[in-house]
Symmetry: C2
Subunit: 329 residues, 2 copies
Amino acid sequence: MSKPTIYSIAQRCGVSAATVSRAFNRPELVSAPVREQIMAAARELGYQPSSAARGLVTGRAEMIGLVVPDITNPFFPLLVRAIQRTAERMGSSVMLIDAEESAAAEVRHVAQLRSRVDGVIVASPRSSSAALREAARGLPCVLLNRPLRELSSVICDNTSALFDAGEHLHKHGHRSFALLAGPSASWAAGRRSQAIRRWARGRGVELTELGPFRATFKGGRQAGAALLETGATAAFAFDDLTACGVLAELAGRGVSVPGERSVVGCDDVLLARTVTPSLTTVTAPMDDLGATAVQVLTRQIETPGGPAEHVALPGVFVARDSTGPRSAS
Amino acid sequence: MSKPTIYSIAQRCGVSAATVSRAFNRPELVSAPVREQIMAAARELGYQPSSAARGLVTGRAEMIGLVVPDITNPFFPLLVRAIQRTAERMGSSVMLIDAEESAAAEVRHVAQLRSRVDGVIVASPRSSSAALREAARGLPCVLLNRPLRELSSVICDNTSALFDAGEHLHKHGHRSFALLAGPSASWAAGRRSQAIRRWARGRGVELTELGPFRATFKGGRQAGAALLETGATAAFAFDDLTACGVLAELAGRGVSVPGERSVVGCDDVLLARTVTPSLTTVTAPMDDLGATAVQVLTRQIETPGGPAEHVALPGVFVARDSTGPRSAS
DNA sequence: CGGAATAATGAAAGCGATTGCATGGATTCT
DNA sequence: AGAATCCATGCAATCGCTTTCATTATTCCG
C-alpha cells in the first residue's frame, strides 16, 4: 500500500480531496462531523501531508537556512538552538549549513539554499560584502553580527559591556592593558577592538595592541605568550575561546590568574564557565539574538520588498574569577 | 518578472521544457550546442530548479534529518559537521533538530520529519526503544550510539580503549578506582560502566561506583565531590564534560590533578584539550562515525526493505595531563 | 539503396497539494 | 412565498518538474 494522500482519505470518507485539504488548513470551513471523520481517517492511515506538494503550490518551503562559519565554535550551538526554537514556533524548520570556516563555502551555500528555503540567516564574518550582497540578491536574508546597509542584520553590541569590563579592571587597580585582537577580517573583532581603544583613551590608560590572533584555542595560546612580553597586567581577549587559550598558556608558564594577570573574554560560551579560573566575560544574549533574527527574517519573507531592519542587542558584562586586583609587584 | 522556470528557459531557447530538464539531469541525452545554449540561458536568468517540484515527482527530498538531544553538548557539533560534509557529497542537505534534552521531543520531531526528509539519523539516548521503533516505522533511520535490533545503528565502542585507560592508570601505580557513572537511561553510559567493571574485575582492583550523575558540567562537580569521599586515586568520568566538572571541583578544593588524583574522560571533545590540565580521554572517531551513519542511511533509503546494519567503530585511548603516577601519600 | 538502428527532441501525463469559482440546499428576510 | 444569503462541498486548474512514449531526422550496414 502506497503512502496515504489527501485522495486516499477523501475516498475513504466519501468526500472530495478539496474538503480534506480544507479540513487541515481551514477547519472552520468544514462541518464538524466531516472534519472529525477526516481527522480520524488521517490518523488511522498515518497521513502526513507532502511538504513538496504543498510547497509547490504555496511557494513556501516552511524552511529557513542557517549558515554558520564553524559549528564547532562553541558560540554557535547556542545560537542554533535559539534560532531553531523560534523557527519552530513560527512553523518553520531549520536547515543548517556549516561552512567549515571557508568564506567561499559561505556564499556558495547561500546560493544553493535559494531554492530550498524561504530565507536565510547568515553568520558570515569572513565573506566580502559584495559577495554577500550578490549571494543574497532576491532572497530574504538576515545577517548576524555583521551589518550591511542593504541587508537586514541583528548584531550584538558589546561596546558598553566592554566599557564596564574596563571600569571593573580599573577599579581593581589595573593601569596597563593589552588588547588581544581577533581576526582582522571579522567585523565583530574590529568593533570590539574599537570599543576597547575608545575606552582606554577616555580613561587615559596605557593600551598595548597585540595580534591579530586566530579565534581558536591555539591562537589564544599565542596571544598569551605575546601578552607576557608586555607589561600589561590585564588583557582583553577577542572571545572566550581565545581567552581560554591565554589562560592555558599562562598556567603552563606558571603565571597565576587573576593573581598576576587578569583576563577578560567575550561571548560567555559554556567554556567560560567550565574553565579554571572561570572567565570574566561579556554575555551575549543568545536567545534574543536568535529569536530576533528569525522574527526579522520572517518579516522580510512576508514583505519581500520591505526595508532592511537593523537591530543591535547589548551584551552584558559579567565578572567571574579570571579578573582581580592588580598584583603588588 | 517572476522566478525563472524550465519553461522560461525553454521558450528563450526555442526548445521544449523536457529538453531543458534533460539538459540538467541527463546531459548526455541532449546535443552539445543545445545543452550549452540552455546552460547559458539558465545562468543568465539565475535559474534554480525548484526542489519542491522535483521532490514532488521524484519522491526524493534530497534531505536527511538529524536529531540530536542537545546541540550545546560539545560532542555533537563535531558529529554534525561530519554528517553534513558526507551528506553534501551525496547530494543531500541536512535538517538539524535539537531536541533540547527532551525524550518526548525526540520522537515527536522524528514524526514531523517524515514528510520532509528521505531518512533520519537519530542520536537519541533517552527515548524508549518502543517509542523510537514506532516513530521510525517506515522511515529509513540510523541510530547513533544506541543499538536496536530492528533499526540500523552506528556506535562507538569504547570498551577496549577503556581497558587501555585502565592499564595506563594501573601502570602508574593506581589500585583503587572510582567509576563516576553517567545517566542511567543512557545506553552509552551503561556500556561504558560495564566495560570498566569488567576491566576492574579482571585486573583484581578495587572499584567504587558512584552516581549516576547528569552528563553536564554541574553533574561533574557533584561527581568530583563524591570522588573525594572515597579513597580512590583514579576516576573514570562518564564523558569529558563530566570530567571537566570533576577537575573544576577538585581544583576548587585545592586537590591537585594529576598529583593527588587522576581523572580520565571520554569522547575527546574540544573541551578536553582546552581544560587545564588537559584531559586524558578516549577519542571517538567523529568523522568516521558521521560518514558511516550517512552511508548506512543512504543504503537504507535506496533499499527500503533492506536489512538493518550495525556497525561499531572503536574509540582510541589518548593519554594527556590529567593522569599520572599515584601519589606517595 | 532500403530498412533498421540510433540520436535528439517534443507532447503529455502525472506527482500531491491548494484554491478560486460554481453549485445546491438550508436558512433568513421582507 | 419568493428572493437573498450563507454554508458546506465539489470541480478543476495550477504549481514546476520528471519521465514515458511517440516522432522525426540521421546514420549505418548488407
